[in-house]
């Protein structure tokens, strides 16, 4: 790990340490980030990003969690990516394929992508259309533990036209595929020749085309990436990127305060530290929307929830603002829909929720739910009594449950809390709809595409033999049709009314009671440029190629 450019800093540090004054070392972290001239051709400095989970999966197509993608965006490139406004921009592709530029055929089934001719893999091998073909085939290879086949399964034929042009045909027109492509990192064919892709050496020393090259990993501690001087695009400006694993959120925040980390990544600064963090000198702290929304989710198979009046009354009985202010320090915003407000397809005209015990009681009275001797309502022998579950140990949610329990009791609904450890909670209990109600944070979107077929279509409930994650067992033929239609249309102006209508229907049907859209408190050191929030990507390093010290 020699580094001539920074030799002076190291010596200074060492001597300080030996002089017994090495505590000072903590005050000059991230050595050698001095602003050298001509940064574009000569990357300088380093950034340490703190994550509260450890990235361990480096093949982007094996099963992984959010934090692993922090490595992918630095080491690999997809064909296209998405900016914070939801617009696609080309990376390995020359341009974003659309129907207007002929990249997508009139019937929406054939995609043709022109590739850059100036890209090489980190090991010097030229990048070609064969790599793209290999990646798309790997994703559906039956012997490979593929992370996700959604969309890729629709491809029936792939043609390599030349080294820099590829086309494929899909079973049907499928607009969400553009978003899927934006998270499909292209991997090098030559790294998998003659080896089992599940255990290829590549999986622990990835070779990409991205702005940073794999340097080394200290398991349980950090991953070190260095600038790729041959990167085809603008950047990188940093000489080194360190992804540091800090397993506790309080400690993560402390190291941000002390300056040991330059930027706080997933899972960011906890809301209770927000006020203090905003006052720290030399730090920039902001709140960014997240695509995850918190809801009280019903199992619509349960008789008490089949009556819409019950769902509506319970919605009135949720004191959203108190939950947000008291438990989440006012950081997240209340919402009426599953769609993040930052998305182009967000419907701003939905009816606004109101907290009214009185109205909730009226609705239940009118619907014929009568209070029994114990104060709990019942109708036709069905008691308005149910369990509510969430991840045990999630203190904020556990407190939110107590809020709900109280206000629900005031409208004659009995909610019993029955929490489960995460592995149990999100196993069959969730997937097979074995719950009554659940408090869950869901992100229904893979990228900026508004399609939610895997969640809302009646054929997507595992409990009824379907494939997907419609754990509400929600069934509305109109939504089914709209989802099919919306996924087949390519033009945003045609899709917009469809997805706004779906949000209207969901707000009307209330298979889940939306509470708030999550927001995260991000922090970085003053002088670090880049690290822009992007709701369309799950991880903070999406724009790492343009990070630099001013």
């Amino acid at each position: 790990m020699t580094n001539r450019k920074n030799a002076f800093s190291i010596n200074r540090r060492q001597s300080l340490a030996f002089m017994g004054a090495a505590g000072l070392a903590a005050i000059i972290p991230g050595f050698g980030r001095g602003g050298a001239a001509n940064a574009q051709t000569d990357p300088t400095g380093q950034v340490i990003v703190g994550f509260s989970q450890e990235p361990t999966v480096f093949n982007p197509h094996l099963p992984h969690i959010e934090v692993d993608e922090g490595v992918y965006y630095a080491v690999f490139d997809p064909l296209i990516d998405v900016d914070p406004d939801g617009n696609f921009f080309p990376l390995l592709a020359v341009e974003v394929p659309t129907q207007a530029n002929g990249g997508i055929s009139e019937d929406g089934k054939t995609w043709t992508v022109k590739l850059r001719d100036d890209v090489t893999w980190h090991d010097g091998t030229p990048f070609t259309a064969e790599d793209v073909k290999f990646t798309l085939e790997l994703l559906v290879n039956p012997d490979f533990r593929s992370w996700r086949r959604n969309g890729h399964e629709l491809i029936t034929e792939i043609n390599v036209i030349s080294d820099t042009e590829i086309s494929w045909t899909m079973e049907r027109s499928f607009a969400p595929y553009a978003s899927i492509l934006a998270t499909t990192f292209i991997v090098p064919r030559h790294a998998f020749e003659g080896v089992d892709p599940n255990s290829a050496p590549f999986n622990n020393s990835p070779i990409g085309t991205g702005p940073f090259k794999w340097q080394n990993r200290v398991a349980g501690d950090h991953i070190e990436l260095v600038a790729n001087p041959d990167y085809f695009g603008d950047g990188p400006y940093l000489e080194r990127l360190v992804l540091k694993y800090i397993p506790d959120l309080t400690v993560l925040y402390t190291q941000f305060r002390s300056g040991d980390v330059d930027a706080v990544g997933v899972q960011w600064i906890t809301p209770d530290h927000y006020a203090e963090a905003s006052t720290l000198p030399g730090r920039v702290v902001d709140i960014a929307g997240s695509a995850t929304f918190e809801s009280l989710t019903f199992n619509l198979q349960r008789p008490q929830f089949q009556d819409r009046a019950v769902r509506e009354a319970l919605y009135y009985a949720i004191d959203k603002q108190s939950i947000i202010d008291a438990l989440y320090y006012g950081v997240p915003k209340p919402t009426e829909t599953y769609m993040p407000r930052e998305y182009a397809y967000f419907n701003p005209d939905l009816p606004q929720h109101e907290f009214s015990i009185e109205r909730a009681n009226e609705i239940l009275d009118e619907a014929g739910w009568e209070r029994g001797d114990d104060g709990i309502r019942a109708k036709d022998g069905v008691r308005l009594s149910f369990t509510n579950s969430t991840t045990a140990g999630n203190h904020l949610r556990e407190q939110a449950q107590q809020f709900l329990q109280q206000t629900f009791a005031e409208v004659g609904a009995e909610m019993t809390i029955s929490n489960l450890p995460p592995a149990v909670m999100w196993g069959d209990y969730w997937m097979m709809s074995e719950f009554d109600t659940v408090i869950v944070g869901l992100n229904c979107f893979a990228g900026p595409d508004p399609d939610t077929s895997d969640y809302f279509r009646s054929t997507s409930s595992p409990a009824t033999g379907g494939s997907g994650q419609n754990t509400w067992v929600y069934n509305n033929p109109e939504v089914d049709e709209l989802l099919v239609e919306g996924a087949s249309l390519m033009a945003q102006e045609e899709r917009l009314p469809i997805y706004r209508r779906i949000q209207e229907i969901m707000r009307e049907d209330l298979p889940f009671l939306p509470i708030f859209q999550y927001a995260v408190v991000r922090g970085k050191k003053e002088g670090l440029e880049g690290y822009a929030a992007n709701i369309n990507n799950r991880i903070d390093t999406w724009d790492v190629r343009s990070w630099k010290w001013s």
């Binding site: 790990m1 920074n6 540090r13 060492q14 340490a17 030996f18 090495a22 505590g23 000072l24 070392a25 903590a26 005050i27 972290p29 050595f31 380093q46 340490i48 361990t56 999966v57 480096f58 094996l62 099963p63 012997d143 996700r148 086949r149 599940n198 999986n203 622990n204 200290v218 398991a219 349980g220 501690d221 070190e224 080194r240 800090i246 397993p247 400690v251 402390t254 190291q255 305060r257 002390s258 040991d260 450890p421 995460p422 592995a423 149990v424 999100w426 196993g427 997937m431 097979m432 869950v440 944070g441 992100n443 229904c444 979107f445 895997d454 595992p462 494939s467 997907g468 994650q469 799950r538």
Partner: protein
């Protein structure tokens, strides 16, 4: 001696098989599994999870999975981590150095300081020093390490800036001095509790010896007090300490979970907790077997050592 060793060996082998059986079944019978963490990922389907379970062999009968795992273990294959796919032994080895460094430093500190306090307390039983040491031990044992660690970071890193707020070394530096300065706080925090433990044991062991006839005899025949202390008192008080060390040594390698978390120290304690959190069965089982072997070996070593030191004990 050889017969003794052989019989211990067979006992240990049976013990290891039992540990592996119980560990494996308890781990696998707990609901959930390594794939449940992916359930809430956008676009995840039950179908995809089922396919992955099939590909990873997780849907085979448990006994088949166990025999498969144990068979491989006998051939020296500890399996591969579900998380990063590396061989389990490599994963463990990767965390061993961090743990050895931290635990080694803190154990040296605690044995030396704890031993000294213990002996001194016993010699001056009932003195202010003895009372002070007792109070210190009670306080040190009652303070949660997590809290103490955070307070230490707050005072010595954030306020005074004397020591770094965690980590094993500065990334990009990693010189000896850099390691040393990072080691101070976690080692001291961890040692605090152990000093208390060792000082109590050492005190009571020394008190036991002080009342023995041979100490009085040694004093009576006019041996210099220093010689009585070192040879007769401390020498004999050390015997039970060897057994204690045999019990403590395995924890030296299994790491200190809380301290490692607070000071972001990439040791075995963190590895165990993370592997458990992600249901990384091969690594959890590997760690379990690794610590079981350590416990057995260390206890055996302690027994042999005690027999060597104390001629009254014979291994048969």
């Amino acid at each position: 001696m050889l017969r003794y060793l052989l019989s211990r060996f067979w006992q240990s082998l049976i013990l290891l098989v039992l540990v592996s059986l119980i560990g494996f079944f308890v781990l696998n019978l707990a609901p959930g599994g390594p794939l449940s963490q992916y359930a809430l990922t956008p676009g995840m389907t039950k179908e995809a999870l089922d396919r992955l379970a099939e590909q990873m062999g997780l849907n085979r009968p448990l006994i088949v999975q166990y025999l498969d795992w144990f068979g491989r273990l006998l051939r020296g294959d500890w399996g591969n981590s579900f998380r990063d796919g590396r061989p389990v032994l490599d994963v463990i080895a990767g965390h061993l150095f961090a743990t050895l460094l931290l635990m080694g430093a803190s154990t040296l500190l605690s044995v030396a300081i704890g031993g000294w306090i213990g002996i001194r307390s016993a010699l001056k039983e009932g003195s202010p020093f003895d009372y002070g040491a007792t109070i210190f031990a009670m306080v040190a044992l009652s303070i949660p390490t997590f809290w103490f660690g955070l307070v230490a970071i707050y005072v010595f890193s954030l306020q005074l800036g004397w020591f770094p707020a965690g980590n094993m070394y500065t990334i990009g530096d990693g010189s000896l001095g850099d390691y040393a300065i990072h080691l101070v706080m976690p080692a001291v925090v961890l040692a605090l509790v152990n000093v208390a433990v060792w000082s109590r044991y050492m005190r009571s062991a020394t008190l036991d010896v002080l009342g023995q006839d041979f100490v009085r005899t040694a004093k009576a025949k006019g041996l210099p007090p220093r010689r009585v202390l070192m040879k007769h008192i401390v020498g004999n008080a050390m015997v039970p300490m060897i057994t204690l060390a045999g019990l403590q040594l395995p924890t030296l390698l299994s790491g200190a979970l809380v301290t490692e978390t607070v000071f972001t120290w990439p040791g075995m304690g963190r590895l165990f907790l993370d592997s458990l959190g992600y249901n990384d069965y091969p690594v959890v089982m590997g760690l379990l077997m690794f610590s079981a072997i350590l416990v057995i070996v260390c206890n055996l070593l302690a027994d042999i050592f005690v027999a060597l030191v104390d001629p009254r004990i014979r291994l048969d």
